[in-house]
Symmetry: C2
Subunit: 150 residues, 2 copies
């Protein structure tokens, strides 16, 4: 059936970030809804942030669009311009190639639940302005800013 | 700012359907959030259905993935297998090429609000099994099933 049984989609908590950058996303959990349903053109993840958790290190993509819809709770969107609160029913978009790095932080006392939609391009480069982290290709591994692998 | 001001995105109600197929979607209104934010890899529409309105004629895409997230209210998802109620927090996915035609009907007394994410491929063909309607290419016009244009 096209309706997705959310409870049947396993919630995962893994990250490819090396230490010490993985700690910030330890309280981030997500269900890969699009992949579970057989979608290939874009990814759809339902992401749950425990209090204090980050959605990711602050980043921007060379070639992948991203869209976020806040479902429940609230989280702070951090960009170059500062901070903006996203509450349930709020949304934000991050066009490919826009170098305004972004992430969400749950500074509330409750859980935050949001949808993330993103394109998936093997040659995408992900930039992390705040930390010594770089992802030259989506289908490769993380490096330091000087290009040495972790 | 990456946060989208929903009130600043115009709500449109237009359809390319010819008569008599346009009437079913007269109570369908949507905000093109992805386009407003400069996204190009996929579309994101926030769709509002008045009581009685349909999201579309029942259809399936040859080459475009679709994903729906119910935000508020409820609507009936109709597929070849029958009917399923989608309430706020429910979602459904329609992989490209799966010939299980689908649409949403708002049979409730209140409005239904949902997100639709879809890829956008000029060569997509859209099939409408219930009516004398065909869309050979996404970037072209509607025809009858025998290929004659409307």
């Amino acid at each position: 059936m096209p309706k997705i049984d959310l409870d049947a989609v396993p919630e995962v908590s893994r990250t490819g970030y090396p230490k010490p950058y993985a700690a910030a996303v330890a309280g981030r959990h997500y269900r890969r809804l699009g992949a579970a349903a057989g979608l290939g053109d874009f990814g759809v993840n339902l992401c749950r942030l425990e209090p204090g958790a980050w959605s990711s290190q602050r980043h921007w993509h060379s070639s992948e669009d991203e869209f976020v819809w806040m479902v429940a709770g609230e989280a702070v969107l951090v960009t170059d311009a500062g901070e903006t609160l996203l509450r349930a029913g709020d949304c934000a978009a991050f066009p490919a190639g826009d170098p305004d790095a972004h992430h969400l932080i749950n500074r509330s006392a409750g859980e935050a639940l949001f949808l993330v939609v993103g394109s998936d391009k093997p040659a995408d480069t992900c930039h992390y302005p705040d930390v010594d982290l770089h992802l030259p290709r989506n289908d490769g591994g993380f490096t330091r800013k000087d290009g040495t692998p972790y």
